[in-house]
């Protein structure tokens, strides 16, 4: 089950469950749906994009609570696997104590030195030991960022491994912009409408805020629905931006 948006209502949660277990679920209450699911053959359900199971929006918790209740009520028979970004997971644990409902929690940090070198060798990056060290420092072991830098080096856009991330664009941001980026990190992605609700601002203010962040190269926007775009941190810069936001006390 790949979540593509936050379940807002109990009906949304039941629709997701119906998609995961086939369209056999016909009941409109969580208890009845759980009973029905518990009579089905045991199966494993992987829930991807788990960051959509956190919401700071007023009134936005009903669907999430319903889906979580369904997972808890059926975990005796079915194996639920939840894949979630680190910051979103931490926030879920802070607000819903989600970690209590899972038997095993596996954290997958970015690469350490040895794994990083093996990964780069497998991709024929052709780097010396010192370049690998420099790349590890710049990328913090983030594989996609490392490959991006290697590709730029190969294409001649850059001569060597660049110096560590330049934080100056972050230091120039206003408090609201930093808070918006922190919420995007904790939620994985947010639409302009969701940001309006979290920040209690009008559409124009949020539009200007997002435009500035996009122009600064710190966030990306991608279509989620016809009306609204998803806004998320620039994936290549996630480790650096998160580190800055934690240091500046906007994330925890």
């Amino acid at each position: 089950m790949t979540l593509s948006m936050r379940p807002a209502t109990t009906a949304d949660a039941l629709s997701l469950a119906a998609a995961a277990f086939g369209s056999a679920i016909t009941h409109d209450s969580i208890d009845a749906a759980a009973n029905e699911i518990n009579e089905m053959p045991a199966r494993m359900i992987l829930v991807d994009n788990g960051h959509f199971l956190y919401s700071r929006l007023m009134g936005g918790g009903e669907g999430i609570r319903a889906l979580q209740a369904l997972m808890v009520a059926t975990q005796g028979r079915h194996l639920w696997l939840l894949a979630c970004e680190t910051q979103a997971w931490r926030r879920q644990c802070d607000t819903s104590q989600t970690d209590r409902y899972f038997d095993e929690i596996v954290e997958l940090p970015y690469f350490e030195r040895d794994d990083f070198a093996t990964f780069l060798a497998a991709r024929n990056a052709g780097l010396t030991d010192s370049e690998i060290d420099a790349l590890l420092k710049v990328s913090r072991g983030h594989p996609a960022l490392a490959l991006f830098i290697v590709a730029r080096k190969r294409s001649g856009e850059i001569q060597g491994i660049p110096t560590p991330f330049d934080e100056s664009p972050l230091r120039r941001l206003a408090r609201t912009e930093l808070l918006a980026m922190a919420e995007m990190s904790a939620h994985g992605a947010l639409t302009a409408t969701e940001l309006q609700s979290i920040f209690r601002r009008d559409a124009q203010s949020i539009g200007i805020l997002l435009h500035h962040l996009r122009q600064s190269g710190l966030i990306l926007s991608a279509s989620r629905t016809e009306q609204d775009d998803d806004n998320r941190l620039q994936p290549l810069l996630v480790p650096e931006i998160n580190a800055y936001l934690v240091r500046a006390n906007y994330l925890y």
């Binding site: 007023m58 500046a248 925890y252």
Partner: protein
């Protein structure tokens, strides 16, 4: 004997000694200025360590000035024993005579450095003033209130009365929001909305719990439901903004539920 000591003292006040003393004090002043700027720059770069950095400055300043004075006396001036004893006697007399406000504040400042009731960056309430401790000197403490006023309080006052410290060195602190709602209404619903409003506030520190307390009051000739919302703010400087944000969200949500539709004005 006294004339001899006085003559020795005068002889110590040579032009070279005065110049050397001025140079050493100037260097100490510049060192402190540089240290202050460095600490401010570090606090901007590492906001999470802002309080620890600010708290270190008063102790370092005391250390530097003490070292400077000891250096001037023992290395530059190098007075004979008789002058030292005479100066100590004079100092003791001054302290004895002026066990009054200035000295008392100074001694209180030293006591507060070693046994601090609060530190720079803490939010304290004292003598009717509530604000952030922005400067902690030997003789006085400066608060910045939420109205952006700077309040100077002599240090001796702090050792006489009770000081309320809201965060005790932490960046987060509890914010209490009290709302009076018309009665009767659904208590469960009102509590749920208030708790959700607190958690929805972007300033709320979600690692700590949110609590909502309920009480009933009688005012304006009718009963009121009083909600007391307790939540932690992520940074003490955002305390009032968060309190307002929670109140706005709670009232808006209750209004959206049309629970305030028939509210009579007081």
């Amino acid at each position: 004997m006294e004339e001899k000591t006085l003559a020795e003292l005068v002889s110590l006040l040579s032009f070279q000694h005065l110049i050397a003393t001025a140079v050493v004090m100037g260097v100490a002043g510049l060192l402190l200025r540089g240290l202050h700027l460095t600490i401010n720059a570090l606090a901007v770069r590492y906001p999470r360590a802002r309080l620890q950095l600010a708290q270190s400055y008063p102790a370092i300043r005391l250390l530097i000035w003490t070292t400077t004075i000891v250096f001037i006396v023992l290395v530059i001036v190098r007075p004979p024993d008789s002058v030292i004893f005479a100066m100590l006697g004079t100092l003791a007399l001054a302290v004895g005579l002026a066990a009054q406000d200035g000295i008392r504040n100074l001694i209180s400042g030293v006591v507060m450095i070693f046994n601090p009731p609060f530190r720079t960056g803490d939010m304290i309430e004292f003598g009717g003033h509530y604000g952030e401790v922005v400067r902690l000197d030997l003789s006085a403490t400066w608060l910045r209130t939420f109205n952006d006023n700077t309040v100077m309080i002599p240090n001796a006052e702090f050792l006489k009365g009770a000081v309320s410290n809201a965060n005790s060195g932490a960046l987060d602190e509890m914010v209490v929001v009290t709302l009076d709602l018309p009665w009767p209404r659904s208590i469960t619903e009102a509590k749920a909305v208030a708790a959700e409003a607190a958690r929805a506030s972007r300033y709320c520190f979600l690692k700590k719990p949110v609590a909502v307390m309920v009480a009933q009051r009688y005012e304006y000739g009718r009963f009121l439901l009083q909600l007391t919302i307790k939540a932690y703010v992520v940074d003490v400087r955002l305390e009032r903004i968060m309190a307002s944000d929670i109140a706005e969200r709670t009232l808006e949500a209750l209004e959206a539920q049309q629970t305030l539709a028939d509210t009579p004005s007081p």
